[in-house]
Point group: C2
Chain length 206, copies 2
């Protein structure tokens, strides 16, 4: 397809597509004439993914580029690729440096849950940071409080991985993992809020 | 306590505290002499909460002010207050306008889950938006896909509400609800990522 059709089907303006091409976020099309190129379905798929990363989740163009190049590189190793996706997308924007005790507690939590994860996974830091902040606000939480949440998180992860059906194209599977990780986050948090409202109404007899 | 001690105990610079006082985010202290005021424990508690809302979650000062004034107003009605907290804190930053079918699907999901929530809850829009985006990326999801996630979200909400132990001070309980809603979000998403990594390692025999 021509760039105009790519624009129409993706909803991205032609100028934006040209910008992504210049930044090598999108691979070049096949040149068919001077100043004219053909694009395929994989361009469309990648373009939609870029739009989701940049537009919906607010990643910078350079962060999106890094995520995408890593996804291509590790496309044959699903676990490796998933690790990359988990690490590359920032999970939170905490400011405070977590206290060493909070870090130690996260290790206790992981041991109690029986999880084996990368030693320096960014998500571990996020948990430690927020544990510290909650305590500074006078909320008594420790890893025991988080353990039942961890059990539910595991059930959620099982659902997540079940969504990654096998396709012939490892890149497609990799992109699917990335999209699910990123786009289901706000959905899960929204579901929690609605469930809280419902549960609160039940408990307070509304 | 003096403003200097308030600064030391909260970790907020004196200039920041003065800014919050000017913006009426923080109620004034009790004047003890010209240019001198005494602050109490409730100032400290409120200051920490402001820091968490502004610093950790990136709310604007005016958004934080709105949340806090609403919390004070509805402090005696726990359900009302929780509804306010759920509505006031933005749950996502989607750009696309959700398709009408996506909105209808969210209603089907809520009916299937048996939840009763406010008709125009912002969280409903967040789910519809992300359903639309996932579909535009070629991921086949519908409300049936989300139902098992909703069941887990309900179990999470039960844990959340169990954390809100009764205290004599309704304002304290209100603030606790707000803090838990806001600060547990990144923790739950981080737990999901670690659980995904662990589950992926199990499935791919790493």
């Amino acid at each position: 397809m021509r760039i105009s059709e790519l624009s129409r089907r993706s909803g991205a303006p032609v100028a934006t597509i040209k910008y992504y091409l210049r930044e090598r976020l999108l691979p070049p099309g096949e040149t068919t004439a001077a100043n004219q190129a053909e694009y395929g379905e994989h361009h469309l798929r990648r373009l939609r993914l870029i739009r989701a990363l940049v537009g919906v989740r607010g990643l910078s163009v350079s962060a999106a580029k890094e995520v995408l190049s890593g996804v291509s590189e590790h496309a044959t190793d699903m676990h490796q690729m998933l690790g990359l996706v988990l690490g590359a997308v920032p999970a939170g924007k905490g400011e405070a440096e977590p206290a060493p005790e909070a870090r130690a507690e996260v290790d206790e939590l992981l041991a109690a849950a029986g999880w084996k994860v990368t030693e320096d996974a960014p998500a571990k830091r996020v948990i430690a940071e927020n544990l510290s902040t909650l305590r500074s606000l006078g909320v008594e939480v420790d890893w025991h409080t988080l353990l039942p949440y961890a059990r539910l998180a595991h059930e959620t992860a099982v659902l997540d991985l079940d969504q990654l059906r096998h396709t012939d194209d490892p890149l497609e599977q990799a992109e699917r993992a990335l999209v699910l990780t990123v786009l289901l986050e706000p959905v899960l948090m929204a579901l929690r809020r609605l469930a809280q409202e419902d549960e609160s109404a039940r408990r307070h007899g509304v």
